[in-house]
């Protein structure tokens, strides 16, 4: 496999590849490399933070809790749960930087922006995150059905309020508009009818699904021209019968893994593959082994998401954040906080990551976390903050991102390679001529410094 092609594959299927690994793979064929990528992602390592101290609270009813705890203590517990969600965010980013199951992890991140969900309950959102991980490379049909039953999703899209007497259409609408078909590919009547099929769907405190039978509408529904006593699962089956569903998901896959600009005939090609069995592994394998995946027009043309940028740097020079909140700050400033999507439509990605402020910040990111650059910008306050809290962050001018850098790891791999090789390993996009000249005339003092400089040019924003 060509070096450029391996890098391309690993930037899309993971967060880049280091120089040593790259060299190891060069003698192998594309099909072999791709096969190993999938094999490495067979195992599912669930992501968990320690929730022992909240376990007791989780399984008690509201009434029981009120007997044990004061209102103030309960508020404290809720805050603790929120704090744990942030911990899960940090653990997730650590996970993304590991070198195991890289494809599964990248796919999990992808699906999190398809089946968008948000929940302050750490038990539910952690369970949800692992459902994404479990199905990331599996059967899409089972995946959608699993998502529909998740407590976090039920809460997020008001399916708990969806009862026979008074159906709530929110979940049914987003299921079709954002998760499976795309806007315009169903009627308002389809939404009304399918919402009835999900009535009474609920969950227990331990996160298990259960049907509140007296709230479920067992009557006939007419959906996409079919009439029957459909339940939610059957509605999902009918949705997947539409080839548009395969096309909709494939267009997301294409834009995320291949090219932000869709090539219509390629899209139809993979849609046909996916529609056959809705097997996610099959379609991904098809893409990664296609010749066209490695066409020049697909390489280095995607704008990295903030997380891709951050994790990419972290994989080259491993970094530990001494103040975890600063990791939160970085995500906020760049506009992507994992587990905190802005709305159910998810992050739009591509150019929308970039404005004057985020671009300057992103180009400074490497020096911030690797070179102790001074930061003098503040994050926005939260809606729930008091006035004082909202603006509190504004008082700390000129601070540093406190990190522990593992430069030794970098040195072991990169210290003896030429600046040309380092450039080619770090930057996957083709270089702008003027920038290339600029880099050629740079006085390179060490590969460490040069690496940070390479990470500070616009080309590093692409993968």
């Amino acid at each position: 496999m060509k070096q450029k092609h391996i890098q391309h594959l690993f930037w899309r299927a993971s967060f880049g590849i280091n120089y040593n690994e790259l060299n190891k793979l060069e003698t192998k064929s594309t099909s072999k490399v791709v096969k190993e990528l999938f094999k490495d992602s067979k195992t599912i390592n669930t992501l968990k933070v320690n929730l022992d101290e909240l376990l007791d609270v989780k399984l008690k009813s509201k009434k029981e809790l009120k007997e044990i705890y004061s209102a103030k203590e309960l508020q404290k517990l809720r805050n603790k749960s929120r704090k744990k969600v942030r911990e899960l965010n940090y653990a997730w980013i650590d996970r993304l930087s590991e070198n195991k199951s890289v494809l599964r992890e990248k796919m999990t991140l992808f699906w999190a922006n398809v089946f968008v969900c948000r929940d302050n309950d750490i038990f539910f959102i952690q369970q949800y995150n692992n459902v994404l991980r479990q199905h990331a490379l599996g059967d899409f049909r089972a995946f959608v059905k699993a998502i529909a039953m998740e407590p976090s999703m039920s809460k997020y899209l008001n399916n708990r309020q969806n009862v026979k007497r008074k159906p709530n259409e929110n979940f049914a609408r987003e299921l079709m508009e954002l998760f499976t078909l795309g806007i315009g590919n169903y009627t308002e009547q389809d939404i009304k009818e399918s919402a009835r099929a999900f009535t009474g769907w609920s969950f227990k405190r331990n996160g298990a699904f259960f049907l509140r039978k007296k709230h479920h509408d067992y009557n006939q529904k007419t959906f996409f021209g079919k009439t029957g006593n459909f339940n939610g699962d059957e509605i999902i089956d009918i949705i997947l019968d539409q080839k548009q569903c395969a096309r909709f998901i494939c267009s997301k896959i294409y834009q995320y893994f291949v090219n932000p600009r869709i090539n219509k005939s390629r899209l139809e090609e993979i849609t046909t593959v996916f529609y056959k069995d809705y097997n996610i592994s099959n379609v991904m394998q098809y893409i990664f082994t296609s010749k066209w995946f490695y066409d020049d027009e697909n390489i280095g043309v995607k704008i990295k998401s903030p997380i891709e940028l951050l994790v990419g740097i972290n994989k080259t020079v491993p970094v530990k954040f001494n103040k975890k909140r600063q990791l939160n700050y970085l995500q906020k400033m760049m506009g992507q906080q994992l587990l905190y999507p802005e709305n159910v439509a998810g992050w739009k990605g591509g150019k929308s990551w970039i404005d004057s402020n985020t671009l300057m910040f992103r180009m400074k990111l490497a020096s911030l976390i690797l070179n102790n650059a001074i930061i003098n910008l503040e994050e926005k306050g939260d809606f729930e903050d008091t006035f004082e809290m909202y603006y509190k962050k504004a008082k700390k001018r000129n601070r540093f991102i406190k990190t522990t850098k593992n430069w030794e790891y970098f040195d072991a791999i990169y210290s003896n390679i030429s600046s040309k090789e380092l450039t080619e390993t770090i930057v996957v996009s083709k270089l702008d001529k003027d920038t290339e000249n600029f880099l050629n005339n740079l006085d390179i003092t060490s590969n460490r410094d040069f690496c940070v400089q390479l990470m500070s040019i616009p080309e590093y924003q692409l993968c």
Partner: protein, 396 residues
Amino acid sequence: MKRRDFLKQSTLASSLFFVPNFVKAFENVTKNTFQHKKLVIIQLAGGNDGLNTIIPYTNDIYYKSRPQLSIKKNKLIKVTDELGFHQSLSPLKNLYDQGYLSIINNVGYPNPNRSHFRSTDIWQTASDANEYMSSGWVGRYIEKYGKNPYSGIELDDSLSLIMKGENINGIATKNPNVLFANTNTPFFGKLLNKQTDEHLSEHNLGYLYKTMIEAKSSAKYIYQTSKTYKSKLEYPKNPFGGQLKTTAEFINSNLESKVYYVSMGGFDTHANQVNRQSNLLKTYSESIEVFVNDLKKNDTFKDTLILTFSEFGRRVQQNAAAGTDHGAANNVFLIGENLNKKGFYNDAPNLMNLDQNKDIIHTVDFREIYATILDKWLEVDHHSIISKKFSTLNFI
């Protein structure tokens, strides 16, 4: 030519010698399309309790719904037979007395969403409640009519959705010196100075370079222009006062920016609302009064319209923690010298007729206000910015 204009143009002109040709091309776009009207948008983030801001002091339902929170008749500033201002709003009352204030009651949208995030999205993108848009209404205005990041400035360090277009966005800064310094680090400076215009045809790479160049030239323009005027008035010593002071300096230095966005936080008063809201309204109104005086002193108030909104109002019924929960329709303030309809634009909220959550029902769609501002103040067709057509109001 005014001396200030001459200075501005000459500094711009001299700086042009140092930038490549294609950067000039970006800078020139705005020159002719701009007029002098300014819009300042203030969001009271968190959901201001409109009912305790403009108080229906003759309404029994109001007093019954809020045994601890309602404001007694003798503790408010009466302005009409049925409505009064919160005591902390006496600076706003001064503006009201001078005919500079128009209050629109019951502003909202169909199927109101009670999440801060979602409702803010809706207000900022001008979408329907079940529509997801990735650009803000001011962003789209900048993209279509301003064509340059500095056409719209957010007084913060990162950009909100309201300021984002599809290909051109506004720019965020609390402090032009910091922004300028950040776009002028030696490394970026050298990198950019080496640029010719070849990469501009490249899809995403070209977009990155273009954004970088625009950021740099916008930062420079804002920095160099705004330093020609430093406000001499005393603003309240708090961050919101600081944001408005910087805004006044931008406007009074004749910066060609059209729209300014300021978010003031702290209004999510679920508990112990009385003192918290009182302080917030004091901060808001005192800062606004100085801001207006600052503009008046420099003869720029006549060209400035100030819109204040909140993502939602709060529930009529108070909660058990002496606070209020998320509600729906709310009042909106418009401040300016050339208002058509001074004082109250429409009737007070009808507390007899609430929605199923017992929240105030909207009678004015917030997009009618936007449409009016776009059509009558910024003088562009609102339909080119907001996907639906709305009827316009006659407050300006």
